[in-house]
Amino acid sequence: MKKIPLCLVLLGLAGCAGVQPWERDVLARPEMSLDDSPLDAAIDDHIYFSKEASSGGRGFGGGGCGCN
């Protein structure tokens, strides 16, 4: 019973799977990567972590800090 929703989700996504491997010219550009600037992202996360009450979301934070 529990497996049905996951199957449905995957089936629904198959509708989005129209992009073939040879159609990935744009997606393959470095700036289209979801992690194209990991160091900028880490620096931003560190600054906002030390000044705001929220953190994370994108992935795991790297390195703790006594600043919060």
């Binding site: 997606l27 979801l34 620096i43 009450a53 994108r58 795991f60 703790g64």
Partner: protein, 433 residues
């Protein structure tokens, strides 16, 4: 005629695909066995002589071929300056005992009290390894360590991802664990105990305390079409242990005037009644993060949104937009971020003297109700040798407010929330060896 055109187009696409697939291993071989580096130098400066930070970071990535990758990042931070202590501004100067318990410092009349004994150097090291585990599965493992004068962090993480739908869909799950040790300068103050004279450590405990954090992350990435990709993450984070900021204070005020109660020091010491903050020793956070990348021809737009909620009563919303425009041999990327959070249930601008003390209270402005806006621009330039340098400038502004029902007497006429603005300038260089 039309059919023939279609046939030619299909043939051309098929040829490209074959050439492309033949070319890939060669490119992969060139990538494999080489180190690529990403380095950065950052200046972060807050207005009014508050926190100033200079950071340097270098990240190294080595591709061992067959999608096996090692990455490591080393960061060094040097912080100086002052940070808001949590005590309220008054029409008279205020004297406090410094966190070390060895000296006093004074805040001028009308100023928000800042603790200017703040000075720290932090080193952090992160390393991670990722590799395919079977066809369509990617496994990664990482470790993190950081150290500063009064704080040590040790963490580890594992994650597993699986591709579906011709690799247009990826589902991932990860777990991270960390243990942090806090060993405050001058000892750990007993929560809600009063600040004492220089040399009197009766309300402080020596030695460190620890904080454990468990993070779980479920991720979903979907290619929506040839130019758009979406990522959605759900995260759950559970912190337990010592969650106080040992240097944060609350002013104890007169119920009518709202001014801090006067205390007569025996020797050198505070001239008002101030108590150390008290936070719960557990916190559970949950967040939902969504991110979209879309190419409009050559320009690329990135939009991200995060909703976070925790059991301290804090809810936050974050939205971020970046657009990367090609410009000559490089690109220009304007960036905009908006953040808003509600206050923690136990946030108190001050405590009223004579009333029963609450179990938990903090005047840390980071647990208050505020909005923050970041406006930035980045310029990146590719060099003839295939490296890239970049320059990023950002301006960060925080505006907060204290709930009306917490404002007592004269506090209404003074600055209640220490608004913050900061400038961030970052130079980056990416290169290969």
């Amino acid at each position: 005629m039309k059919d023939k055109d279609n046939f030619n187009a299909t043939l051309a696409a098929a040829t490209c695909a074959l050439l492309g697939s033949a070319a890939t291993p060669v490119a992969a071989e060139e990538e494999a066995g080489r180190w690529s580096f990403d380095s950065t130098l950052l200046y972060y400066g807050e207005s009014d002589d508050r926190v100033q930070d200079i950071s340097a970071a270098v990240s190294a990535l080595r591709d061992f071929g067959d999608e096996r990758k090692l990455s490591a990042t080393l960061t060094a931070d040097t912080l100086t300056g002052a940070s808001a202590s949590g005590a309220i501004a008054l029409n008279r100067p205020q004297t406090f005992t410094s966190p070390s318990g060895r000296a006093v410092y004074t805040t001028a009349a009308g100023e928000v009290p800042l603790d200017d004994t703040f000075l720290d150097t932090r080193f952090a090291l992160n390393a991670s390894w990722s590799q395919p585990l079977a066809r369509l599965y990617t496994f990664s493992a990482g470790a993190s360590f950081s150290t500063e004068y009064d704080y040590t962090h040790l963490g580890a993480n594992l994650s597993l991802a699986r591709d579906f739908n011709k690799r247009n869909t990826t589902l991932s799950a990860g777990v991270a664990w960390s243990q942090d040790d806090v060993d405050p300068v001058g000892g750990r103050p007993i929560p809600l105990s009063q600040m004492l004279d220089v040399g009197n450590g009766a309300n402080k405990r020596n030695g460190g305390e620890s904080k454990d954090v468990l993070d779980l992350l479920l991720g979903f990435t979907q290619v929506l079409n040839r130019t758009t990709v979406l990522r959605v993450n759900y995260s759950y984070s559970d912190s337990s242990g010592y969650l106080n900021d040992p240097y944060k204070l609350l002013s104890v005020v007169d119920p009518l005037t709202g001014d801090t109660l006067v205390r007569v020091p025996v020797g050198q010491g505070p001239d008002g009644v101030y108590v150390f903050e008290s936070r719960p020793d557990k916190r559970t956070k949950q967040s939902l993060y969504a991110e979209v990348k879309h190419a409009f021809g050559t320009p690329v737009m990135h939009f991200a949104y995060r909703y976070m909620t925790d059991d301290w009563g804090i809810d936050s919303n974050t939205a971020e937009l970046r657009v990367r425009w090609p410009l000559g041999d490089g690109y220009i990327e304007p960036q905009l971020r908006y953040y808003t959070q509600s206050a923690a249930d136990f946030y108190r601008a001050s405590l009223v003297g004579g009333a029963a003390l609450p179990r938990y209270a903090s005047a840390d402005f980071r647990l208050g109700d505020f909005d923050a806006t970041t406006l930035g621009i980045k310029y990146g330039h590719g060099t003839a040798s295939g490296n890239e340098w970049s320059l990023r400038a950002e301006y960060y502004q925080q505006n907060g407010s204290v709930p009306r029902e917490q404002i007592v007497g004269n506090q209404a006429n003074r600055e209640q929330y220490p608004d913050l603005s900061a400038v961030i300038v970052q130079f980056g260089y990416r290169f290969r060896l």
